[in-house]
Symmetry: C4
Subunit: 199 residues, 4 copies
């Protein structure tokens, strides 16, 4: 299967991104509850980013299960997605350490917008390479309501961060939760083609 090494490399990057965020946590210097309190907003930001990155991995996993080929453009669209995702850990910690300020909150939204856009570009390239009659074409060619709603919520989060950073955080959180449900369109395709993946 020609997509295997792209998946292996991406898995490595996903695994590192999701794990190194914890490395940026500053280990508390005290040993009582007061020492833990400043970690709370960082911890909340970590939960948000963990779900977001896990969503990308899940969808990547589902999509490449029905992808049958890879070309130079797909390799670069994938690298482009990983580039923006790789910035998520520092954006997460910066937001977490400044949870009440608008700019870090807006920057996080802008970064997630870039990730979502990069994923859309990757989908387009996969669709283009496989054609509309392929399994991936039928799965991805359908409506993209969830993608559009995500882009809208990230975009809304940026100005809303200046109104109240909690509203922006809520917008991002809605996107995270919304994608926990895996892509039904692709699962349907896998089942249709006799795969053993089910939900």
């Amino acid at each position: 299967m020609t997509t295997s090494r792209l998946e292996a490399f991406s898995d490595g990057v996903f695994a590192i991104i999701i794990t190194i965020m914890v490395l940026e946590f500053r280990i508390p210097h005290g040993h009582d509850f007061a020492a833990l309190r400043p970690l709370l907003p960082v911890f909340l930001s970590y939960i948000l980013s963990f779900i977001l990155v896990a969503n990308y991995w899940n969808n990547h996993h589902h999509t490449f299960q029905i992808a049958t080929k890879v070309n130079g453009r797909i390799l670069w669209a994938n690298a482009h997605l990983l580039f923006w995702l790789s910035l998520t850990p520092i954006a997460t910690i910066w937001m977490g350490e400044n949870i009440t300020y608008p700019l870090p909150m807006a920057v996080f939204g802008g970064l997630q917008l870039a990730c979502a856009f990069a994923y859309l570009v990757l989908s387009r390239e996969l669709l283009y390479a496989h054609g509309p009659e392929s399994e991936i074409g039928k799965a991805l060619g359908d409506n993209q309501k969830k993608e559009l709603l995500s882009l809208t919520l990230y975009t809304a989060g940026i100005p809303l961060a200046y109104l109240d950073s909690r509203i922006a955080f809520a917008c991002y959180f809605i996107v995270a939760v919304m994608w926990i449900i895996p892509d039904r369109r692709i699962e349907k395709r896998i089942q249709a083609s006799g795969g053993s993946e089910e939900n």
Copy 2:
């Protein structure tokens, strides 16, 4: 095999979690034995966490060897387990640097309780997806004495940390050692189905 990419991603996360703990060690600033002494409790905590994480990897490895399918719920149960495990490195170092204080010791126990619970949820989802008559159903459907004992020891460790942090540490260490022996129930199943895995 449809479980392969979930295993690859999990292996990546396990490998990073087990290795980055060392990154949090503060490199001694002196060059004599006195410079090494503060590392000793951190080193002991590292041994404990290394065994605990290696146990999860071993059991994960054994379980997914007889798993034959993956669905959206299993993907999320797995991500949920990795989320709690990913917090182990900082909890380890915080405990190691404050080995005589109750709170870091209790927090470590609470975190391990969350990991153990998340593993139980993952097992349930695997059992539910494969059915009681599958290989995995027969292996996991048996008694769960070790799981219950682990949960009990972690739970006991939390209040005991306030009595004497060494007692709590001993509780966690018993769990770690207890799981070094791999899951006989699953090894039996692998052998029964003609696999070449033996103990």
Copy 3:
């Protein structure tokens, strides 16, 4: 396939190199635009290095797709390449934090020269092991204009950094962009041998 574990190990190292650069970013201490400004040259350096490392991964991926065997010399040529690449993250951040100074810029160029040279050595070993009549021999035995131009630009960047560090940066950037287009010679070979990889 005997090249699979070398690829898996290399993928791991590539994935880590490309991701840990972000770990070296110092998280801004403020929460306004002024706090972000010092990150800008580091961010530019990160883009450059991300593309350079992604190029190496892409070419490595393409080359090993048509490689059919691995020997001790190839293992070491590969480790030699990874050694120099592993120094890229700190060279990147040092350059980014001292973007107007000649030495960090020249050191970065020297390091990239070492990486390019190491890749050339790896190609030679692969060519030698497979013979000129193999797929890999036909692909790599052709002209090496791009390799020579890269070596020239890196070499030129070192003294030019002392003239103006921006000229050196531009030289390195040209190499990065030049290699975004994947290796046509190898893609042709994959297609000729009936692979499903296309561009």
Copy 4:
């Protein structure tokens, strides 16, 4: 192949160990040659450790290519090896930053002794599981001159560090260089069994 996931996990850990050493390098604060000078002994230590870890990976790769089964004892012997190897990065940097002092040099030797011993234990377990008549039995059952010489050099390095730390460093370096030549015994076995691996 039942060894594949053990290899994948080990590859991940090897890749991280070999790469994170660089993360511990303190990025120079100046921008001239004086800023680079303190990095020189750390860099030398890095070269040494990079070769040592790459040697373990190479031998691990060669050995598991002819291994056909894995059991609980082998899993733990492997985890035991990875435990000691995971301490190599901090021992390397501590040695590099205190290159003229005996204790960090002796500790590094002691750690490498532990790694070498752990590798020997892993070999024994593999030999025991496969039997003396297996491919792995024939390869590992032969003489172990190189292993003994390595153990001797590491052991000698510990007291010699107190005489002159450079002598100890030289001892370790001899081991590193000695193992660059891959395991002929195993390569012979792979060729004998018709594998395409050659040297």
